[in-house]
């Protein structure tokens, strides 16, 4: 078993590859790590040199891959009735998540602002155009995309698992995957993602806030759920569905819900 860990996209990324030592396995791990780092440079809203930052600054950008990712995010917005929304950038910032999470002060003053979401975004071939005042945060989908890409690059070298701080995909074997504070899943193919307000959270003016914005209110979601874990075909799909389920959408797939008072509910065929 080959295991590699590195820090990227604001979290710890773990690559597992069930392959013997050798150049092919090392090359696959190298390629997967490079891919994650490349996508971080493309999609980070904290990197002043990223394509996403450039798009948010200018309102228009030509980038084939970013356009494809934004198109996926917009399709997810459509499919979830707006519960998943890439235009929550300003709302997340207003809530206090305006820098890399490690640098966000855990407490401090802050006003209670509701920022409108659902802004107009146009994708025309490789060009993305934002309506005035609209900015994108791809944090809800980019990590899943990176996990899927890394898993696809590892797969030819053997059974593999990619875990980027809770967004996880596996291929080629049954992998026992533990859910924090919950059961262990045997996942043979597919992906898992968890959306929750138990980690990326902070306080402003005595009020607890977190990074999961409800686009209907433009504020951190107010829910009895602490976190939702969803199993789906891809990490992108799992991320989108986990966010939608966290906001109360009735989804139909294997999932584990944990409430704020500590109850764990298995649903969607899990038992």
């Amino acid at each position: 078993m080959r295991r590699r860990s590195f820090r990227a996209m604001g979290t710890e990324v773990e690559l597992l590859l069930a392959a013997a030592e050798g150049e092919a396995a090392t090359a696959a791990l190298d390629a997967a790590e490079r891919e994650v780092r490349r996508l971080e440079r493309l999609c980070s809203r904290f990197d002043p040199g990223s394509a996403l930052t450039e798009l948010n600054r200018t309102g228009s950008l030509v980038s084939a891959e970013l356009a494809a990712l934004v198109r996926t995010a917009l399709a997810a917005r459509e499919q979830t009735g707006g519960l998943f929304d890439p235009t929550v950038h300003d709302a997340v910032r207003a809530a206090g998540y305006d820098r890399s999470f490690e640098a966000v002060p855990p407490d401090g003053p802050g006003r209670r602002a509701a920022i409108p979401c659902g802004g107009e975004v146009t994708v025309d071939r490789d060009r993305v155009v934002l309506a005035p005042g609209v900015r994108l945060d791809l944090g809800g989908i980019a990590k899943g995309y990176a996990v899927d890409r890394a898993c696809a690059l590892l797969a030819p070298a053997g059974p593999c698992l990619v875990n980027a701080g809770g967004d996880l995909a596996v291929h080629g074997a049954s992998w026992p995957v533990g859910l924090e504070g919950g059961p262990t899943l045997a996942l043979a193919e597919g992906a898992v993602a968890t959306s929750g307000r138990d980690r990326r959270r902070w306080r402003r003016s005595g009020e607890e806030r977190h990074h999961l914005i409800d686009p209907r209110t433009g504020r951190p979601a107010d829910t009895v759920l602490l976190r939702v874990t969803v199993v789906a075909s891809t990490a992108v799909e799992a991320e989108v569905l986990a966010k939608a389920a966290f906001l109360g959408a009735p989804i139909d797939c294997p999932r584990v819900l944990v409430t704020a008072d500590g109850r764990t509910v298995l649903a969607g065929g899990l038992s």
Partner: protein, 101 residues
Amino acid sequence: MTSNPARLYAAALAVLLFFVLWAALAARPWAAAASADPRVAALGRREAALRVEAAAVQARLDRQWAAYRAELRRRSAVPATAVQPQVSITALPPVTTTRSS
């Protein structure tokens, strides 16, 4: 020069001189002299060389762009994990643990 014929000749000569001078100026003889300036010729050669260089750079960029698009198409063609997830609860010890992202 008080006789009328003399004044007429003088006037005709003046008109003739005027048109000759006009024709001479309209021919812009100094322009030909300027084009012969070696510095201008050097600038012309430099411009031509830069045009050739720009065409070469453009061709290289076109090749790189085509290679990038081909690589992007190849990457997009690779399915990530486009199969139905297979999942169950197990008692095995986990190889990794997930948490809220």
